[in-house]
Symmetry: C2
Subunit: 452 residues, 2 copies
Amino acid sequence: MSEAAIELARRSRGLAEADFTEELRIPSVGTLSRHREDCRQNAQWLLERFQRMGMDASLHEYGSGHPTVQAEWLAAPGRPLLTIYGHYDVQPPDPLQEWISGPFEPAIRDGSIYARGACDNKGQHLSSLKAAEYAFATGGPALNLRFLVEGEEEGGGEVLPHLLKTEAERLRSDFVFIHDGTLLQLLTGLRGNLYTEIEVTGAAIDLHSGAFGGLAPNPFNTLALILAGLKDRTGRVLIPGFYDAVKDPSPEELASWSTLPINEEMLLQLTGAPALEGEPGYSLLERNFTRPTLDVHGVMGGFTDEGSKTVIPARAAAKVSMRLVPDQDPFVILEALRRQAETLATPGTRVVVKQVGEVAWPILLDSQHVGIGAASRAFEAAFGQAPFLVRAGYSIPVVSDFAANLPDSKIFVSGFSGEDDGAHSPNERMVLDNFHRGTEMVLHLFDELAEA
Amino acid sequence: MSEAAIELARRSRGLAEADFTEELRIPSVGTLSRHREDCRQNAQWLLERFQRMGMDASLHEYGSGHPTVQAEWLAAPGRPLLTIYGHYDVQPPDPLQEWISGPFEPAIRDGSIYARGACDNKGQHLSSLKAAEYAFATGGPALNLRFLVEGEEEGGGEVLPHLLKTEAERLRSDFVFIHDGTLLQLLTGLRGNLYTEIEVTGAAIDLHSGAFGGLAPNPFNTLALILAGLKDRTGRVLIPGFYDAVKDPSPEELASWSTLPINEEMLLQLTGAPALEGEPGYSLLERNFTRPTLDVHGVMGGFTDEGSKTVIPARAAAKVSMRLVPDQDPFVILEALRRQAETLATPGTRVVVKQVGEVAWPILLDSQHVGIGAASRAFEAAFGQAPFLVRAGYSIPVVSDFAANLPDSKIFVSGFSGEDDGAHSPNERMVLDNFHRGTEMVLHLFDELAEA
């Protein structure tokens, strides 16, 4: 059946681009309250498209969050059920002056469409939606199908996690395609993230460094001692017990990564750094995919304006996050960090370590299941190339939410967005050919999974 | 003669307070350009008062700075010449909401006058001006007299240093009274100050800590290693050569300080810190007066708003100052700091150390000269108590300017402002009895120095 659908997809490229442009025009910035109605409008826009193709579609709401769009078609008894995840919320478009065309005025240049959300994630979930549309128009997909398109991915939302948690039984799926990834990459694991603030207090009031220098504790100097005592010059984290639960990757994973076209020279060029830094004894990809690390993101307190002010502040604090890997437990690590920070504090100071936001758990996905093989063949059919099996250094919390609540599902994470498509940046784009081939890939995937 | 003048001073307390209130009403905030005309008005106000008492007064200007008021009376041939230094500019009054009465609406409560500048420095130079006024009204002072009242002390100005430098010969004085100090303290030395910014750069662009954590240099982590490598947990500075030129205080100084009513308990209460911190092996006052130290004042870069952002910034920088003591050379120390910071930088980063503002040189004053004895006796006559000979942990750059340009002058630094008068803070005040007794102290000083 996919042949007729693929034929239709090829004939409909112009119409698909018109729909793409329409969704991109909706400024669905999820984290800005003034775009609240735009988010609802985007949910409604998707709802109507799913209903139009005959799917049973509804909006799910919880608390004050943006609605999750659910669309189901369960009319293929005996066939597997595939759930496709996407998100319609986008990042704020700032800095505006760096956009060549307006972030919500989609423009096509050199075969790419430029707009906020083009690759993250409208171009991605829309290519899946189009695949479903063509499948229904040519006899219906060969398997049962569900879409879950949320509106809170960029802000860390509650609606979809709540839905997954409270309706886990109803949402059971054979396969879950987290359609928020990178072209020709199938993710088999993600690092977790524990974000903290380390606050050091000294005197009760700000002091003059002339009158009190050499007498009073300086929270900044102590904070520097603490931060320097968390990670050494080579990049090895110094928190006692930090590496205890860390697992080595499998020989198959290591072998697969060795074929990836990523090397030091490329990363030096990409970052513009004089040299790379990281834990010794591991390859670049091991350091990013399978080794935990610790980074300082900002330091608050004292005087930071132009010029000089000789203040010994009462308080200094640092934002510090740790990328964690299986099987590190974020809450065990948080306690170990607390102990280490307290050990490093000086006599005139007090240190408090606070967790910021939600923990993202590290996750390792089954990289051998039939869905992976099916997705590989579908990629090869549509793009002429098999995808790489890789882990990610970053975190996608929703992957853990699906894994925790739908433990029987075979999950895979991928997408059609290029590394250089500028997700979260000005002039975000999607290569239109990738968008259209992506639709064909999803049509192939329907067939492959139906037989799996 | 001082008896008649003192008699007049005692009869004129009400008029003196009216004049005090008048000067305090002028919002001469030197560092805010919108108060430029107020500063000029304050200079003019002083000029007229000096002229009215028969002194040869003029305004000196240089560049775009606020004028320095000069007033001279050199009609006592064969007698010494005393130069009195003060400043009419004041700190900005923020935070306004913490003032009980307006910062430029002087109010008397419980024997103190409250306004910005009350103790720093209007109440101080005005008590000297009043002394001169009473001396002229009762036959003239027993010595030659010069006032230099500048308008740029709080901002680090150019007018007075330029005047001292270019007219050093004309400004030669036997004694210089830096009237900007603390009641019952005679300063015999001041620490210097070298203020720097240490900037660390890594990648050319901000990076995502998920995508690049474990691969890319993080300037914050490296900055923490550098700062932790500048001063250890005990408070000892780790810059090689830092202590090489440091001199021990004299046994006389040490003996004098042992009688000062300053102890650990008092400082703990004053600061509210859980414990004091500083270089081991030295008393509290040695640590503050005679030992150099290093403090971090603020750290710039990255993300410091509420919540979490996982950025590895391209740049991080810290404001770091060093209080220096005789005979440390600030420029030798700056080079030593540069070398140490470069040594501590990690391979993926570059470090640049920049000097911020002007250097304040450490200075040791002769504590045995006849002016010190004269001032001691004058204090005792007016306040019933001899002053303490102390050094200061802070810096007053103008002291070095006088010492460098008028090397034959006997300098002393003191004043009538209490430690708890709130200089630079809301509800700054001056105890009116100290103001009036201060005028009497200066009248005694005229007589004492005339005979010295």
